[in-house]
Amino acid sequence: MVEHGDVRVVHKGGSKINFREPALSTDSRFLLCASGESVKVFSTATEECLHALQGHTDLITGVLLRPSNHLQAYSCSLDGTVRLWDFTDGILIRTYSIGYPIYGIYASAKHEGVIFIITPMHTDTNSELFQLVAVHLPQCGEQLVEAKELSAVLSNISSNPAASAFGREGQYIVSAKPLQLEVYFFKKHKSYSFFLKKDNQKGGKNTFTCITCHPTEDCIASGHEDGKIRLWRNFNHRKEYTYSTLHWHHSAVSSLRFTPEGTNLLSGGVESVLVQWRYNQESQRDFLPRLGGAITHISVSPDGALFCTSHSDNKITIIQSCVKVSAVIQGLVKGDRIRTDLMIEPRSKALVLNGKPGHLQFYSLQRDKLLYNLDIVQQEYIHESGLEQFEVVMAAFDASGSWLATVEERKQKAPELELNLKLWAFDDQKQSFVLNTTISAPHEGRITALCFPHVSDGQTTMLVSTSRDGHFKAWQLAAPAHTEDEGPSWSCDFLGAYHSLVPECCCFSADSSLLAVGFQEVVTVWTPASWELLTTLSQPPGAVRDLCFGRLSCSKYLLGATTSRLLCCWNLLTCSLEWVTSMDVSLLLADPLSENMAAFCFEAGSTDLFVFKPGEPRPLFSHKALCSGRVTHAVFVPREVMLESCDEASQWLNCSHLYFLTQSMDLLTFITKAEEDKLTASSKQLVVSDDVAMTPFHLLLGKHRDQLENPQAESRLSVEPIRQPSSSAGINELLQMPAHVLPSASFLCSMFVQSLLISVNKPSEQNKEKEEEMESEKEEEDSDGEMESRISRPEHMPSGESGCAAPALTKEEVRELRRLKKLDHSWMKGLLD
């Protein structure tokens, strides 16, 4: 067995950003949201992720602005710590260790130095009972502080942070249990409870789902399972409380918020409509429909200028004053299950998989950002649970990325099955896929596999689909039959069957001269040129589940995984079995750029990975117990730059990354040690100064500035400390000068670019420059940046060139040297001979 070596499994991209309510900064410029084990800070104007606050070691369960300092924020996590951050600079200020897993955090301006957290009542982790605990944060300057002063406020509450809220000016705290509302008054140290009946007469459910309090009046708004909103008043008496009911939502209200002035109430739910109710005039409502997935959280910036809604499809929408969607921060959409395989779009190298319902998402793994969603179904999505919707169940790209085939289906029961096969052509002008052909009911049964041949040159004109109805069909791109049709479209070319067995999988060989279709136990090999059945291969018992042709030098091998826990390798030249090994392969993959193949094997509750070459008996790499559960989706992502690692264990990662999705929908990948070192080196925190706007432009400039600073910083070590590095003077000048006094941009541009380029000059060139006897005096009109760099360079030059350690030569000496060099030394050679 090959050892793991220095290859490690890491989480890569696509973390959840809708887990907890995001926090908006006081000036509405930043958005903080909990994303896995880090807090991400987004700019609300540009949707860019500015930085991630890293430090927690478990899932973050809450982010909250510090009431007493609007530049600081608390975050709590299941690792039992609360951390205080300066989120503009991304600095961890303090860590308070609580010792229990924390499920939610609250704070109020009235309670200075106290935070309220939700923790389990018992220390065992599976406890269903939670309590609200007040924590007095000790004031001391240390980094790591242990908070010991805990006092329980409310017990037996819900773990959902939306089910508890602070009342007016922090005077009371409200918490909702399934059918009970509990209000705790801090002044009186007394709590009142109000109960609702389990069901009202119309069969609605009265269960509380969320709660919020009016900022200036004694009013509590509660959302319920049946879509009602109740406004509770007069609740400081046990008996005389009143409530009024608002009803618009047809299913559970998932989030409620008052605006900071208390003039409006915002509510959202599964319908994906943000409803704005006027406080005290509840009949007037404003709607913002079709925001995306179901609304899970609503938050409002302290100045009331921005709202933001989190959606179930891993998205945060930023809304300007309930009218306009100003920005959308979209994470990788991970539904309950991925129906399509993971794919790589050959053009943009984006990861493609199911996204929003009825869409395919294109996700850039390099930038960890959603590029765009492609609407496949093209139907209005009805937000209603229990409705059978069209789902994209299959998709395939051809080798050049000019065609995309998708299959969508509704109602999986056989007689009512609705199937559509759609073929999309890449439009160079729109830079997107455009629907070319829709084939409704391409097969009578569900489609089990879809594949394009790997034609590297020219156009793909064939697609093969296999179906439960016992047939496989070849679809052909055909020229229009009549002149009035716009362009070529796809039509059925061949229909094949084998002994009325059900085909489960199909695969084209690397040169597309062979098509292998697995009909249960039998693998049939066809030639697409004439649609002749060439041979059949089989290894009973057990149906063939996965088929894969070898690549490059191994293209004579055909690999198949069967349900009887066998991995077979057939040699197509001899039509015989080459080798068989017993493993329960759940997924078989071929690297498109090398001979390597990856097999994910399910063994004793967890998945093992083997990377091997079909022609070699020894696996290149194996990793036991990769993750629990089966891995059914994985993909080889070609690298942009080939690695040149010679290490045997990590050699298979030279051409491609391997990404895979676990059963719990985590996107994982493998990383080599060398890569990891490179990453940590480059991920130095960027300190964003407060006076420059947080735009991508700024980040770009900032990076350049860093690069300019760094070489000087290194050189400074050897020589005496010099003055402030001012190579960025040109940039500063550019940014700080008022726009109306600057010359035209085209003039500035060349200067600016030169100022960036000049620092890469080789020292030898500078020597020459010096020899040219200050001719450069004429070039004084050059930018400041260049001047600065020229002055600073001689200082570190001596340290760079060890040969001429002597002080700078005078002009005469230089001439002397040059004359010496020109002298003819051939006579010396003659003497030696």
Partner: protein
Amino acid sequence: MASYKPTNIPVYPKLGEKVTEETLYWKNYKTPIQIKEFGAVSNIHFSPVTPYNFAVTAFTRIHLYGLLSQEPVKTFTRFKDTAYCGRFRSDGQLLVAGCEDSVVRLFDVSGKVALRMFKGHTKAVHVTDFTSDRYQILTGSDDYTCCLWDIPNSAQLNTYQEHTDYIRCGVTSQLNRDLFVTGSYDHSLKVFDARVDKSVMTINHGHPVESLLLYPSEGLLVSAGGRYVRVWDLLKGGQPLVSLKNHHKTVTCLALSSNGQRLLSGSLDRHVKVYNTTSYKVVHNFDYPAAILSLALAPEDESIVVGMTNSILSIKHRKPSEEAKETAGHQRRRPSYRVYAHRKSYVPKQDDYLVSKPVRQHLAKYDKQLKKFNVSKALDTALETWIRGRKPEITVAVIRELDRRGTLKNALAGRDEQELSRLLSFLIANLVDARFAPVLITAAEMILDIYQSIIGQSPVVDKQLLHLQSLLERELDYQKDLLEVLGMLDTMFASSLPKIELPCSGISTSNGLPQGQSTASRPQVQVN
């Protein structure tokens, strides 16, 4: 915030005839003018010069019609018996016609009495034509001879007695004054040269030849006889080029469209077929009420004239071209265009700040209702008479959309007698359409579920339900029959396909497939 996505109306493949440029061209004729003649119309010939009058030979008369007139402008009646083959000379001044009484008559188009009478044949003359030098006449007769006559001195120049049966068609070359071709019931075509006294080429058509046609280039000869239309290459010594068998009765007449790109053939099976002369495929088909004897096309294909056995002459004129129509429409629209002219012509200046108005999405009526979740109203709008009748696919798409939203039952319920009968009549009209059946069957089931309690209360609804039932029964029988046919076809295909020996049978032991199974393995291949 995404905008509302309108209901997707699927585009179904059009059933029946495909619309091509050809069909558009040939369909662009007005409804035919029908004129009753005195007997079967045996020949129609267009004058080569303006105003393109045409001579119609029917029974004992020859009528001259103007291109757009419906009354004959001139009539030649001096025939003692049935006249045949009235033809114009290339200058349009003279007309020649044969007759059952074996006399060939030559008329001045402006006169009434025959200028010349050529006597010499012993039997009916069915073929007459002018040679290209205009001074000679070719005749072919039932006495198996064909003759050349001199017009000025009405003398018989040449007689050819080579055919062994009636000569019923002939054509003279337009490029050479000495060449002509005759076709006879003895199945042969003969090419004659007046300078030699024997035929120079004999071609066997295989059937009694009814009609002949020379291409304008005169390299190709088309002959019609029996059910066949055959094309011969004269320059290659009468080599057969193509044989067309598209009629199911004798082909009687041939014509060439004005640009020579299309060939038309008329037959006793009452069809006129249009062929593409490069691919020789039928590109269009005209139906006529009776067996066709004669056919002619006006210059520029302005009209198609067909004569039939029931003595009816049918004239189809081309519709005025699209350009003329467009200009007319343009004039009508002009006033409204003027109103908006200055606004359209306004070009924003460089410093202008453009306030762009969000484009308002235009939604169809049913989509507006669907957007508001008014399911019943959406179905009502989709069931409007116009949509229901003309575009059933829209109604079906709305029903499918309602079904997808899970609200179809709500939309169908709560309807009164009139609305219900409207729904049922839509179902009756479209239920058996294979394109709509899956959706409409669900809807029909729901309707029966909802309204089963009121059956028997309204005679209208009951009648429609019974109709629906009988329709379904008929459809079931039909489907059963189709399945039987399919089974029969499968057996035939299976027995006709060659057995493919698979290489796997030899090595079946090595890959583990049992021997018996693999020898029996034969692919069931069906090519769509």
